[in-house]
């Protein structure tokens, strides 16, 4: 029916299909599992390989993190642990192929291994087996050594999960070691914070002491550009992840907002009102060679580069009234309006260059329900799919490096918090709980 859908099916997973002509009052789910067969994967708890007292805690963190990563990946049908055959599986001789490959577990793949602390050293061995290939079952065998801490156990679990996802997920790198940067008010001021992709390890990066917003991490992960209220106004500030503090970046005058890195990391686009009206500018990553891209009365803000080509930009403009999403070439030519109605903001371009995810109050005005939800649009056809339907204001969506997940902020739990979901809108989960947490930005790898 829609050519766009076929491309989305191929690229995404089970899909939430919204069909405006026939069902304008409601939404339906169709086509579950179209295009991609989920691999049925069993992962019994890893077994202790030493007698160390720390093993209990380390195993708990490792097993929970590994399961969570694989479950989150969206490409596995995880076999419930209640179906597993009795007896631990710590190394290859423990594997009873018949018991795993036959129903009820009926597993196609089996991930297993062992973990042990010895003094201050933690050693983990992990395998991935094809459960139905008795003669040559090994797909993957890895050994890891690190400090005997729960942080290290979590990191090793992320690495092993990413190996499995890479092997079974069509050669796309996993995201278990990726980071989320966001704005949190829990210290009393809005500062830039960081956390692991699964919500673990939340910590403050900046201590500017005013209002800091819109963090955007550079493609190489070394710097975070953000907008902050300084003595002279809203300026773009630059935080170095490598040295753990702010580094110099020019002040341009006026209100400077919403920085965005080009995919090659050489340029930064942002909104500046230095000329008296908020317009989109682009500069080198050092801040030099400032160039203005838009010149039309009304707010222009929130640029987002085409992450595949770096040759186009989407942004938000109020030139025709309520804010709408537009695209243009990266030199400012050929502006095109993408959304035709409502209040559309916060575009983010998908890693494969095909889609925009954005926040939209589609029916705006008196008497309209006014729900603010996350949508994906196929840029070529302008077909869109609604991803959130569960209430609250949903804003600032951003893609995971593998393009399979979307992180966003939602007020549905009663306060603004960070949520994650698969790119088809399923598997929505809350990641932050304390204070107010907004404007999530996902690392590029």
């Amino acid at each position: 029916m829609f050519p766009f859908m076929h491309r989305l099916f191929k690229w995404l997973l089970p899909i939430v299909l919204f069909s405006p002509p026939a069902f304008s009052q409601d939404w339906i789910r169709t086509g579950t599992g179209l295009g991609v067969e989920k691999v049925r994967l069993a992962v019994p708890d890893f077994k202790a390989s030493t007698q160390d007292a720390k093993n209990t805690d380390l195993l708990k963190v490792f097993n929970d993190t590994l399961w969570n990563d694989l479950d989150n990946a969206g490409i596995f049908d995880m076999v419930s642990k209640s179906f597993y055959p009795l007896g631990p599986v710590g190394s290859p001789p423990d594997v009873k192929f018949e018991a795993w490959s036959a129903p009820p577990p009926n597993a196609a793949m089996l991930g297993f291994g062992n973990l042990g602390a010895s003094g201050n050293t933690l050693t983990v061995q992990g395998w991935l087996y094809d459960a139905k290939n008795v003669t040559s079952p090994q797909v993957l065998g890895k050994q890891y050594q690190d400090a005997a801490t729960t942080d290290a156990a979590r990191t090793i679990a992320h690495k092993f999960a990413d190996e499995i996802i890479f092997r079974l997920g069509g050669g796309i790198q996993g995201i278990a070691e990726s980071k989320i940067y966001f704005v949190s008010s829990r210290s009393g001021r809005k500062e830039i914070w960081a956390m692991d992709y699964d919500g673990a390890n939340q910590h403050a990066l900046t201590h500017v002491g005013s209002i800091s917003l819109s963090p955007r991490v550079s493609p190489d992960g070394s710097r975070i550009a953000f907008s902050s209220l300084t003595r002279t106004g809203w300026d773009i500030l630059m935080y170095s992840v490598d040295v753990g503090r702010l580094v110099t970046f020019p002040r341009f005058g006026g209100t400077n907002l919403s920085p965005a890195w080009s995919p090659d990391g050489t340029k930064l686009a942002f909104s500046s009102s230095r000329s008296g009206d908020p317009e989109i500018y682009v500069a080198d990553q050092s801040g030099a060679n400032l160039k203005r891209l838009t010149s039309f009365k009304g707010p222009d803000v929130s640029p987002a580069w085409n992450r595949k080509t770096g040759a186009q930009m989407a942004w938000v403009s109020g030139r025709s009234g309520l804010p709408q999403i537009y695209t243009m070439e990266a030199d400012g030519t050929n502006p095109q309006r993408l959304t035709e109605e409502g209040y559309a903001v916060s575009p983010a371009w998908s890693p494969n260059g095909q889609f925009l995810v954005f926040s939209w109050i589609r029916h705006y005005g008196p008497g309209a329900p006014g729900a603010q939800d996350i949508y994906i649009m196929d840029i070529a056809s302008k077909q869109w799919v609604q991803l959130t339907h569960d209430g609250g204001r949903n804003d600032f969506p951003y893609w995971s490096p593998d393009g399979r997940h979307i992180i966003f902020q939602s007020s549905r739990s009663g306060s603004e918090q960070i949520w994650t979901m698969l790119a088809d809108g399923t598997n929505q989960k809350q990641l932050s709980f304390a204070g107010s947490n907004t404007q999530p930005n996902w690392s590029w790898k």
Partner: protein, 243 residues
């Protein structure tokens, strides 16, 4: 295609339902008489000249109203729709005019500051800051708009008049937005609002080098309830005296 067929069935059903509903409506509900044209809302303005006097001196209140049938000023009583009157308040007084008409009620206020005649002149900066906060009125905006509404023009002219007389004052215009909408867009919109007030003042002859602007978007609301009254309080250009 099954879905296409389903759409046809749905369409036929819905059309049928609409026709039946339409038929019912004709029987029971005669068309209502056309509504009379809505009466025009009254407008009102009230100024005091001079707005600062020494104790014992007089000042002149001047007011204009339109579309009002019943005009009164608190402490004076009923007055003509347009007029002026000399008053000699003993203390600083806010005169409050109410204009009632078929289209509603409109208020206007004017503040007269009475200073003690015998007192030594207070330090100029303190007085100036007080005068600033008494005389310079914030400018309010419509939703998602940054152009100055017609009902804000008199406040803006009052602001310009005061600032022209006190041309040494340096001040900041803060652009604020209500809680609806998105953080980044609201910061840009607040910037447009602050600049729109700045431009209007500069056009009235205020020196641009005395005016700073800053946007707060929806970061520093004056009021935190989720209703239109509160949202209107938050959509404003707010004046702040710079020491």
């Amino acid at each position: 295609m099954k879905q296409r067929k389903l759409q046809w069935i749905t369409l036929v059903f819905v059309l049928g339902a609409i026709m039946m509903l339409g038929a019912c409506k004709k029987k029971v509900a005669p068309p209502p008489p056309p509504a009379p044209p809505a009466p025009t809302a009254p407008t009102a303005s009230l100024t005091a000249n001079p707005n600062t006097i020494e104790k014992g001196q007089s000042t002149t209140l001047t007011w204009q109203t339109t579309n009002a049938t019943d005009v009164s000023i608190d402490g004076i009583g009923a007055v003509d729709p347009n007029g002026s009157q000399s008053v000699t308040p003993a203390d600083s007084t806010t005169y409050h005019l109410t204009a009632k008409g078929a289209g509603g009620t409109q208020d206007a206020t004017a503040r007269v500051t009475v200073t003690a005649a015998a007192a030594p002149p207070p330090t100029s900066s303190a007085t100036e800051e007080e005068l600033f906060s008494q005389n310079v009125k914030d400018i309010f905006f419509d939703y998602d708009k940054s152009d100055i509404r017609s009902d804000q023009q008199s406040a803006l002219q009052g602001d310009a008049g005061f600032l022209k007389q006190h041309s040494n004052i340096v001040f900041t215009i803060e652009g604020h937005c209500d809680e609806r909408g998105s953080t980044e867009y609201n910061l840009a919109l607040g910037d447009s609002r602050a600049n729109s007030v700045r431009t209007a003042l500069v056009q009235s002859g205020i020196g641009g080098d005395h005016i700073k602007t800053i946007s707060y978007g929806k970061e520093k609301p004056f009021c935190t309830q989720s209703n239109e009254q509160c949202w209107q309080q938050n959509r404003r250009g707010h004046f702040v005296y710079q020491k």
